[in-house]
């Protein structure tokens, strides 16, 4: 079977930082798998600014931030990059199977770093009653449609939840000529950063309803309108507060779930509530030599922190490999 010292699954900011760090700490046989046709992960669609303030000490957009790592990864010949490569199976002995066009590849990794990111929570997880028409999107999907595909998913938009992606998309829709009728948040405070409330919602005078929820969705083929109601301390609808908003599009922005199905397959201990590995140390799992970093390990607010912690994951994997080969850890690992 094909063997590799280190396999990294995911070519977003976490996977790229881990790959570079592993190389800088002496690992010379690295395979980086990315399921998309480009490296960069979710940052490719985050065309807004606000990245890099802590890590690079300058304000960058998502593509600019990831571009710096893409250039660096590509310049290191010890990192083999495999695009359009989708990992489908992992065993506790670190045998990984991935598919790419025209190929099913099984390989044995001495160490593995899973940088598989997160997926968005969906409408089904909010238990909003009503119809199931077209026009309901997760905020990140709408972001991909606009920024990558050049398609505008709707003209009259309501945003459920006030996560950062939802706030960013409120502004994006307004700039694209759509009307954003409301942002509706069940909690007392915005879920996302206050700066995003200011520059994405208040800047465009979008109504922002705190302690409100969407209580029903209407529409035959496409979303037509929704019911909104105020909620009490226990998130229960307060009678007599209900009102309706007409819209053709509903965005869901209520948080992310770490994507860890592969380590679950490998029987790593999992916290079912957060869908993350049970671990008493950053980036580690119950399986020696199997590391998890970035949003797959825990949900981060800032990519700068993902980079910092993923650099550590690369170093942890390097240390594991050095120990496994019977050598002593050299001083001055990065």
């Amino acid at each position: 079977m094909l063997e590799k010292d280190l396999v990294i699954v995911g070519g977003g900011p976490a996977g790229m930082a881990a790959a570079i760090s592993a190389y800088e700490n002496g690992v010379s046989d690295i395979l980086l798998l990315e399921r998309d046709q480009y490296l960069g992960g979710i940052l490719n669609q985050c065309v807004h600014t606000g990245f890099g303030i802590s890590y690079f000490k300058e304000v960058l957009t998502g593509p600019e931030y990831s571009g710096r790592f893409i250039n660096k990864v590509k310049a290191i010949d010890k990192i083999e990059i495999s695009l359009k490569s989708f990992a489908v199976n992992l065993t506790k002995d670190k045998i990984l199977t991935f598919i790419k066009p025209g190929l099913i590849q099984k390989l044995k990794a001495k160490a593995l770093i899973m940088a598989t990111g997160a997926r968005e929570r969906t409408r089904e997880m909010l238990h909003i009653p009503g119809a199931r028409p077209a026009g309901i999107f997760s905020a990140g999907l709408a972001q991909k449609l606009i920024n990558i595909e050049g398609l505008l998913p709707g003209k009259e938009v309501v945003i459920a939840g006030s996560g950062d992606i939802g706030l960013i998309m409120a502004r994006r829709f307004v700039l694209e000529g759509a009307k954003v009728k409301a942002v509706i948040e069940i909690q007392k405070q915005a879920r996302g950063l206050v700066r995003n409330v200011v520059q994405c919602v208040e800047d465009f005078e979008i109504p922002f309803y705190l302690q409100h929820k969407i209580s029903r969705i209407y529409g035959k083929n496409r979303v037509e309108r929704i019911d909104v109601a105020r909620v009490d301390e226990n998130f229960q609808e307060i009678a007599g507060t209900k009102f309706q908003l007409e819209c053709d599009t509903l965005l869901i922005s209520v948080g992310l779930i770490p994507e860890n199905e592969l380590i679950e397959m490998a029987q790593a201990k999992m916290d079912k509530k957060t869908n993350t590995p049970v671990s008493n140390e950053l980036n580690k799992t119950s399986i020696a030599g199997l590391f998890v970093c970035g949003n797959a390990f825990r949900i981060y607010d800032l990519v700068d922190s993902v980079t910092k912690d993923s650099v550590l994951a690369g170093r942890q994997a390097a240390e594991y490999l050095i120990r496994g080969s019977g050598r002593t850890i050299p001083a001055g690992l990065k």
């Binding site: 065309v47 600014t49 571009g67 050049g150 700039l175 700066r195 520059q199 800047d203």
Partner: protein, 118 residues
């Protein structure tokens, strides 16, 4: 007169108190760095924002090429700037930082690409 503002220069989102006399900022407090002060000055006298968007590519690897202004432009000009961005087409490869439009709308800012596109 005192006004409360939230600084948007970085994710810390400092809560600022701005002391304004005769439409001029005389004192800023609550900021953890110098950016808070310049933000308040602009925000009271002429609010500025960096605009980010994406431009249609023609015959290139990417359908949409992300862009931004290299410096902030007046907030009041954002929608006008978007209307202009809709008219632009990029038909040759670009690298991050390449200028797409010089002196965009005569505002003294350049529109630049933010992603490599071959």
């Amino acid at each position: 007169m005192n006004k409360n503002l939230t600084c948007i220069e970085c994710p810390k989102s400092c809560e600022l108190i701005v002391d304004i006399e005769n439409c001029r900022v005389v004192k800023v407090s609550g900021n953890q760095c110098n950016a808070g002060e310049s933000y308040c000055l602009a925000e009271i006298e002429n609010p500025m924002r960096v605009l980010t968007s994406a431009v249609l590519g023609e015959g290139l690897a990417l359908k949409m090429i992300p862009v931004r202004t290299d410096r902030p432009l007046p907030k009041a000009k954002l929608l006008e700037a978007m209307a202009e961005i809709k008219k632009i087409r990029i038909n040759k490869p670009v690298k991050p930082g390449d200028v797409i439009v010089n002196n965009f709308l005569g505002l003294g800012v350049d529109l630049i690409a933010t992603r490599e596109c071959l």
